[in-house]
Structure formats: structure tokens, C-alpha cells
Subunit: 127 residues, 4 copies
């Protein structure tokens, strides 16, 4: 997996790394037993400082999602995500269609994000 850091978002870099690992777990892109990219590689590909990567990996380890094995790397320990992967596919397709239609109607990315947030807030899912 490859990390992307958005330095304009205001969210600390190490939390962006943590979130991206968690999302990869939810999406099924990472599974128990998989190895996270070595710190040095993340440093070169994403431009953050090694301590920042270490902090993210430590945070993931403390939450029980990954496990550091001395001299070998950091490995995924637990799965994440409450969804049945078979049902995820159709949902993703429908969502992609919706996004496509929203774009066609003139909405930009920030519009889409605002709409999603507003629906989730209304629904009570976001506090």
C-alpha cells in the first residue's frame, strides 16, 4: 500500500497515516498477516519524517490492529470492518454511480463531501 499525505488538510500527518491503514483494513486491501510498508519506504514515498511514521505505527499497535516483529517488520494482526465483502461490492458500485451523477450535476469534490457529512450528521452517525 502507498500513503498520501495532504499537508493542507490540517489533520496531523501521523493521523493521516493511521486513518489510511484503518481504511485499507476496512476495504479489505489489507488483511491479517500482511506486512505494512517499512518505515524507510514510507519516508521516501510520502515525504514525512521517520519519527512521524513510527508514531503512526505505534498508535496502530496500541489499538491492537498491527504487531511489530523485531527485525522483520510490522504486520497486520486484526481485521477491521463490520461489512460482508460480498455486499460491499454492489454498495460501492451504487455509490460510484451516485458520485458520477453528482459530478454531472455540477457538484465539485467539496460539495460531495459536504453533502455526505450533512446526511451522516442528520442521521445521527456523526456527532
Amino acid at each position: 500500500m502507498e500513503f498520501r499525505i495532504d499537508r493542507t488538510s490540517g489533520l496531523p500527518a501521523y493521523l493521516q497515516l493511521v486513518r489510511q491503514v484503518r481504511e485499507a483494513l476496512r476495504m479489505g486491501w489489507l488483511s491479517p498477516g500482511d506486512r505494512l510498508p517499512p518505515v524507510r519506504e514510507v519516508v521516501t514515498t510520502s515525504g514525512v519524517n521517520a519519527n512521524t511514521v513510527l508514531k503512526a505505527y505505534r498508535e496502530l499497535e496500541m489499538s491492537g490492529l498491527v504487531e511489530a516483529r523485531q527485525g522483520s517488520g510490522t504486520y497486520v494482526k486484526a481485521a477491521l470492518g463490520s461489512a460482508d465483502p460480498e455486499v460491499m461490492g454492489p454498495l460501492r458500485t451504487r455509490l460510484a454511480e451516485w458520485v458520477h451523477d453528482a459530478r454531472a450535476a455540477g457538484l465539485d469534490t467539496e460539495d460531495v463531501e459536504a453533502l455526505v457529512r450533512s446526511v451522516l450528521v442528520d442521521e445521527g452517525g456523526i456527532g
Copy 2:
């Protein structure tokens, strides 16, 4: 309008305020000429410090969205959002249905957010 601060999100409080104003503009809940809630009111309703609110309002002012009038308040100056409000309604309805189905399929809020992000990234809308 009323602000909600999520102290667990990692995003600085003043940026949460900025984002909520921007989203209100995009959703059409705020329009040019409207007055933002006074700093002291935000302090009491959302629990943040006055300087934090001032920082958010100042940031909005510098981006040209609002205008502070001495002794009178802070007013919306510019609109935001590329969307036609008439087309926004149906899109919102469809999205709410999708979220409902996702919930029914066992997805929690974080799953939904991860899915949305992944679709937007795939599509190129998020860097």
C-alpha cells in the same frame, strides 16, 4: 446556525468551525448578507474559547467569504458551492437512501466514510 466540535477527530477546533461555515454555505443554509452567530454565543454553545472562534472567523474573512463589521457582527459576503439547489434535493435523497441501505448491510459510520473516500480517491477527486 449551531456549531458542533468533535474533540476526538484530531482536526483543530478552529478548522472544524471554518469547515462547518463553508459547508453551510455550500448547502445553502447560509447566504450572502446572513450574520454569523456572535463570537460570545459560539463560545457558550460549543464550549470553545473565544480566541478559537475569532481565529476561525478571521480565517473565513481572509478567504473572502465573510466580513466583520465593527460593533455589528460578522456577515456572509460571498456564496459558495457550484450546485443548483433544485438538483441538490434529489441527490441528497438518493444519498440518504444509499446510506440507509449501507447501514442495513452492516456498515458502520467509519465504513461509510472509508467507502466514500475510496470512491473519491479512485475517481481522482482527492489527492
Copy 3:
């Protein structure tokens, strides 16, 4: 560069800092790539509060003149000033002579400033 704050001028300290950086850019005393003095140094040399310096640096950053690099410092990003440095020298010399003569004629600093302002206003340069 070293900052000087005049607490009697009525101009907020952070705006005095901003102006002095802008003037240093115009005079060629600062150029793209140069590092501004660290916040903590400005605090000790000029006696203002750290937040005041941060506010000034942030304002400069938002106007695109400087760039803060986490853990490294604040760096000049853009040049400022429409003047050819070679033509600036002679102009400065002539102005210094004029000021000297004005002093000799009995004008104090406020007289000089008033005269400059009145000429610029007459000329339409100041609104």
C-alpha cells in the same frame, strides 16, 4: 533581521512585524529562501508575546510571502518590490540628503512624516 516595536504608535504589534518584513523584502534585505528569525528569538529580542509573532508570521504566510516548514523555520517564498536595486541606491542617497537638509531647517521627525504624507496624498498615491 531585527524587529523594533513602537508601543506608542497605536498600530498593533503584529502589524508592525508584518510591515517590517514587507519593507525588508522591498529593500532587498530579505530574499526568497532566507529564513525569518525563529519565533522564540523575536520574542526575546523585541519583547512581544510568542502568539503575536505567530500571528504576524501567519498573516505573511496567508499573503503568500513566506512559508512555514514544520520543525525547520519560516522561509521567504516570494519577492516584493517593483524597484531595480541599482536605481534604489541613488534614490536613497538623494532622500537621505533631503532629510538632512530638512533637519537642518528645523523640521522634526513628525514634520518630515507629515510632509511626505502630504506629498503622496497630493500626488494621489495615498487614498
Copy 4:
């Protein structure tokens, strides 16, 4: 005399009024016995609040420059300026020429102001 308020300068409005009266005194545009414009007139011509004008006039009165006569208006009481008016003329002419040449050399108003400030600071006239 007519006042001009620059709301972008950061200098409080009442101090701009005070400074403009002081500069008019230095330039000889106002002399002892002259009447300052009535508060209501300043309100309409410069757009500031009446209290702001009153505060400026009170400040001038406390510094001994003007005197309020009940029901009649506010009058200049003392002169200001260390300069011989006969020597002021030639100095003003030379300065206007210098400004003209500076413009011709490509300097804008902010460049001119920066240069003046830097000469005065060098000379020790500004702290």
C-alpha cells in the same frame, strides 16, 4: 479640512483623525483660531461614528491643541510644527521632485514609504 479614513491600515479611526489634524497644523493648513469641522459633518463626510469623532476631538483637547467652546464648535488653540513656513515650501518642492523621480524609476507607493522609513530609522529619527 476634510478627513479620510483608511479602514485597511490597522490604525484606529480616531487616531487617524487625530493624526490628520496634527498634520494639518504642521503643514500650516490649520492655525490657531480656526474651527475644526463639526462632528456631524465629519460623520457624513468620512463615514465614522459620532463617538469616534468625539473621542478624537477630546484627545486633541487633552493634548492642548484644540479647545471646545460650548455651542460654538472646536477651535485650534495652539500651533504645531517646528518649521519656518518660508523654508517649508522649497523643501516640499524638492521632495515632490524626488517622489516624481522615484515613480519614474518604477517605485510604487509602498516602495516610497519603505524607503522613507528606512532612511528615518537609519538616521535614528524613528525608534
